[in-house]
Structure formats: C-alpha cells, structure tokens
C-alpha cells in the first residue's frame, strides 16, 4: 500500500513535467532540454513569492503565470527564429540556454540549497501500515485537478482542438486558418506553467530548492515522453506512472541494483528495442 502511494506521488511529478515537454515536442519537434531550467525557475519564483506574501496559493499562481510567460519568451525570442534550421540547432541552443539559466539562478538566489517549509495545516492520513503526508496529499490532488482541467481544455475547447491540429500537422493547421503563432505560444505558456507547478510541488515535497535541481529532470522527463510515444499526452501520463511504478517496485523487490536513472534508461532502451516508436504511438502519424 505504501509502495503504491509512493509510486503515485513520484509518477504525478513525472507527469506534470512531461506534459509541457510533450506539448512542445508534439507541435514543434524540439527536444526542449531547457524545460528543466523553466521548472527550476518555477520553484524559485514560488519560494520567493511565498517568502514575500506568506500565502502559498498566491505564490503558486504567481509563479505559474510568470514562469509561463518566461516559457513564451523562450519560444518567441529564441526557438521561433531557428525552427527552419536543422533539428540539432534548437537542441544545442536548448543545452546552452539550460547552462546559462542554472548559473543565472545561482547568481540571483545563491548556490546553497534553500528549504521550502510549508505547513498546510492538513493532518497526515495514517492508516494501517501506510501514511500519506500532507505534502503527498497536496501533490496528488493538484496533479489530479490539473489533469482533469487539461483533459477538458484539450477536448472541449477550441484552443485545445487547435493545439491538437497543430500537433498533427503544423502547416496544415496554418492553412486551415488556425493562428499557429498564438497556439504555439499558448502551448509554451501551458507547458511552462505546469513545469512551475511541478517545481513548486517538488520544492515543497523535498523541502529544498537549488539552482541545479533541474539536472535530473532534464533527462528523466525524456524517458517519460519516449515511453509515451513522443507527443502523445495520454501516452505521457500513462508512461509517467508506468515508470514510477517500475522504479519503485524494482527497488522494493531487489533494492538499488543500479541507480534509479540507469534503471529508467534501461527500461527505455529495452522498450525502444522492441517498440522503436515508444509504447503509445500517436494515432494520427
């Protein structure tokens, strides 16, 4: 039971981070490594606003909005200008950007890890042989709400449908009169805001925020989107949980045979060998 809860919490975080990457990859086919830098920015902004206002929810929303805007900035000032170039160009730009971002955070917020102490005033749920802490409740509920909202957005609104159309075929979507520019910007906004949410939640959950906290995310999230089939939102959600359960169960069963990252990548390589297009191939392409 405890294992299931641990895996669900871990999976929630994987999913929140991967959604942004999946949206962006789905539409622009960019391996957006700097997404991990955006995630870190979200965590730092959340911490800063929480320290300033003392109101966690306000800080969370401010962080999501500002980080979302930063994401749009990355798109319109940087990626947009190199979209026509070879695919490796945005990849390297993304790497350079990630390096610069992390060092910028160090200069602004300092090199030391900062605690993110938050007491929501909710009691931990204690059952027979398991416990769900208040921060786990926070993560599970916010992830649940986000996923439901995302589902409604993608399937019930015009904007969501436009995003799907763009992901299917960018040129075609433009020809059909969809304002591609706006849709892509929105995808960056949404993806970055969700990354900020993940950053803040992880900051609270781990009780620390620091400039290089994105390192692990920068490659781990890709495992999720590869397993999810590159660009499929539902695939990413399922893959996030599959990965978290695989890791957690393996640790419970065998201990740390190898570091978690190596396990995750081993799973990914195995899957790719047998299903070179990921577990959930996009239906349309």
């Amino acid at each position: 039971m405890q294992i299931v809860i641990n895996a669900l919490v871990l999976g929630s975080v994987y999913v929140l981070i991967s959604i942004g990457l999946t949206l962006i990859y789905g539409i622009l086919r960019i391996l957006h490594i700097a997404h991990a830098g955006i995630y870190t920015l979200g965590a730092f902004l959340g911490l800063t606003f929480y320290a300033l206002t003392g109101n966690f929810w306000l800080a969370l929303i401010l962080s999501m909005v500002l980080t979302g805007i930063a994401g749009v900035g990355v798109y319109s000032y940087i990626y947009r200008r190199v979209l026509s170039k070879e695919r490796i160009v945005p990849l390297v730009i993304s790497i350079g950007l990630f390096i610069a971002m992390q060092d910028l955070y160090r200069l602004i917020w300092g090199a030391y890890k900062k605690p993110f102490a938050l007491d929501l005033g909710i009691n931990d749920i204690k059952g027979k042989g398991f416990v769900i802490t208040q921060h786990q409740i926070l993560i599970l509920s916010l992830t649940g709400i986000s996923l439901i909202l995302l589902y409604l957005l993608m399937n019930k609104t015009k904007l969501g449908k436009a995003m799907k159309a763009c992901a299917d075929d960018l040129v075609m979507a433009g020809a059909l009169g969809i304002n591609v520019e706006r849709v892509v910007s929105f995808a960056f906004f949404l993806g970055s805001a969700l990354a900020a949410l993940a950053g803040v939640l992880i900051g609270v959950y781990e009780n620390n925020v620091y400039p290089t906290m994105g390192d692990e995310v920068s490659y781990k999230a890709f495992v999720v989107i590869v397993l999810g089939g590159f660009g499929s939102l539902s695939g990413a959600v399922v893959a996030g949980f599959i990965l978290s359960f695989a890791e957690t169960l393996l640790v419970a069963w065998k201990g740390f045979l190898l570091p978690r990252d190596a396990i995750a990548f081993l799973v990914m390589i195995l899957v790719l060998m047998f299903k070179p297009e990921g577990l959930f191939r996009r239906a349309s392409t």
Partner: protein, 288 residues
C-alpha cells in the same frame, strides 16, 4: 616554465578534437545524432586503465585494445540504431551513457566509485614524455585522425554517408546499403573515441566514472555543432574553442558559466550551421 599550463590545455584540446571529429562521423556523415558519446570515451579510458593497472600491460597494447574495444562497442550500438531512429536514437544514446557510467560505478572490477588510479606514464623507448611531449604526442594523433577524416570524406564512404544523412529511403533506392554504412560509422566513431579515452587515461593517470558522464557527452555534441556539423575544420574549431573558453573567461570569475551558456545560444542562433559550417561566418571569411 609556465608553458606546462598551456601544454595541458593543448593536450585536453587535442583529446576533445579527436572526440568531436569522431562524433562528427556519426552526426555529420551518417546523420545519426548521439548524446552518449562520452560512453565510448569512457569505455576506451577504462580499457586502458584496467589493462595497465590490473594486468600490467604496456602502452602499445592498451592503446590498440582501447581502439578495438571502443570500435567493438560502437559496432554493438550501431545494431540497435538500425531499428531506433531520429530522436528515439538521441534518447537511447543518452540512456546508454547513464547505464555505462552506472556499471563503472557499481562493478568492483572497474574500481567502483573509487575509479582506477595509478596508470604509469606512457613510455616511448623507455623514456617518459613531459607535458610538452605528451601534447605533441596527442597532436600526432590529431593529425592521423584528420587524415583519416579526409580519407573518409574523399573516398566512397562519403557517398553513402551523405545519402543516409539526407534521406535514408532515397539512399536505399540508389543502391547504398544503409545498415552497412551506419554500422561503419558507429564502429569508426567508437574506435576513435576509444583512442581519445586512452589518451585521456594516460594524461590523467587515473579514471573516474564521473569523468565520462552525460554532461561530457553534451560538451562534445556542442563542440561539433558549434564548429560546424559535417565539416572537418568545424569540430576542430569547436573543440579548441570550448576547451580554451573556460580558461579565457577566468577574468570574469563569477559569470563564467553564465557567459559560456549565452555564447553557445548566440552562436547557434546567428550561425546555425556552425562557425565553420557551410554557411558559417568564418568559412566565408576564409574564402574571401
């Protein structure tokens, strides 16, 4: 006296020239982007370290075996690349990098987290090379590798590689065996990275797992792309630039890494084919 500082920088720069040229065989000629090149670098270095320290083999043997084993693992990675394509391959190579480093760390035979320490200095005719001599020695290998690159570019391989890079299906249709060329590319690339690993191991006198981790792969890829994919001079320039840049930027101490990142972004935005790439600013300047 103070030249040793320069010599070590030149040695590191030479090692990275070989690494970036070897990665360029994959990216530039075969169109296979790898973000796990440090794995082969590490395999080469660990081969030399294990053989020299645990089995007491001489320099010539370790050099040869580093190249062969590096090439063999390149060949092995070439096999899945026939199935796994594009971005999936990029991710698979990242994965490979993590798995290889994890194995170095978790298997005691490879020294575990302690790495392997105590490689003897490389000896030639019973004489040790100083820092200057070793820089010269690595430069010798750079020249050999460049000649090999020119050969690869000139001779028929270029034909096949170029075709795969542009379009795999079209390559097949004009009778180029795509699988064979991919395997060639991976094998050559792995062997040369193995060579670089050998040079590194003897330069440092030791190997640690983290010296071959994912960020190193990122650095090598950045060198290739920044200089100019698919050229010979490009990756060389990239390697020299990114080895010396952190040292040149020392005067700004605290902003060094920030500026390093920004420089990469700006160069790529305004010189997307690389400084010495086909449309690169430096290439044009030279032509004029």
């Amino acid at each position: 006296m103070t030249l040793d500082y320069l010599y070590t920088l030149i040695t590191f720069s030479n090692i990275f020239i070989i690494l970036s040229l070897s990665l360029n065989v994959l990216i530039g000629y075969a169109g296979q982007v790898s973000l796990g090149h440090a794995a082969f670098f590490g395999i080469g270095a660990y081969t030399s370290a294990v053989l020299a320290v645990k089995f007491g083999l001489g320099y010539g043997t370790t050099l040869l075996l580093s190249v062969l084993i590096g090439g063999f693992f390149g060949f092995l990675l070439g096999l899945p690349s026939l199935r796994v394509r594009h971005d999936f391959l990029v991710l698979a190579t990242i994965g490979l990098n993590f798995v290889v480093v994890a194995l170095f760390k978790y298997i005691d035979f490879f020294g575990g987290p302690y790495g392997i320490i105590g490689l003897p200095a490389a000896k030639f005719f019973g004489k040790e090379l100083g820092t200057g001599g070793y820089a010269l020695y690595t430069a010798f290998w750079v020249v050999i590798v460049i000649l090999l690159m020119i050969y690869i570019e000139k001779i028929y391989l270029r034909y096949g590689f170029e075709a795969i890079r542009e379009n795999e299906d079209a390559a097949e249709s004009i009778g180029v065996s795509v699988p064979l060329f991919k395997i060639y590319a991976f094998t050559i690339s792995g062997a040369l990275a193995g060579l670089a690993g050998n040079l590194w191991a003897y330069q440092m006198g030791m190997v640690f797992p983290d010296d071959f981790s994912f960020p190193v792969s990122i650095t090598i890829l950045t060198m290739v792309v920044l200089g100019g994919v698919g050229t010979i001079s490009g990756p060389i320039l990239g390697a020299v630039l990114l080895t010396f840049l952190p040292e040149l930027l020392r005067f700004i101490q605290d902003y060094r890494l920030l500026l390093y990142g920004i420089i990469i972004v700006i160069v790529m935005m305004y010189q997307p084919s690389g400084l010495l790439g086909r449309q690169g600013i430096l290439r044009k300047a030279f032509k004029r």
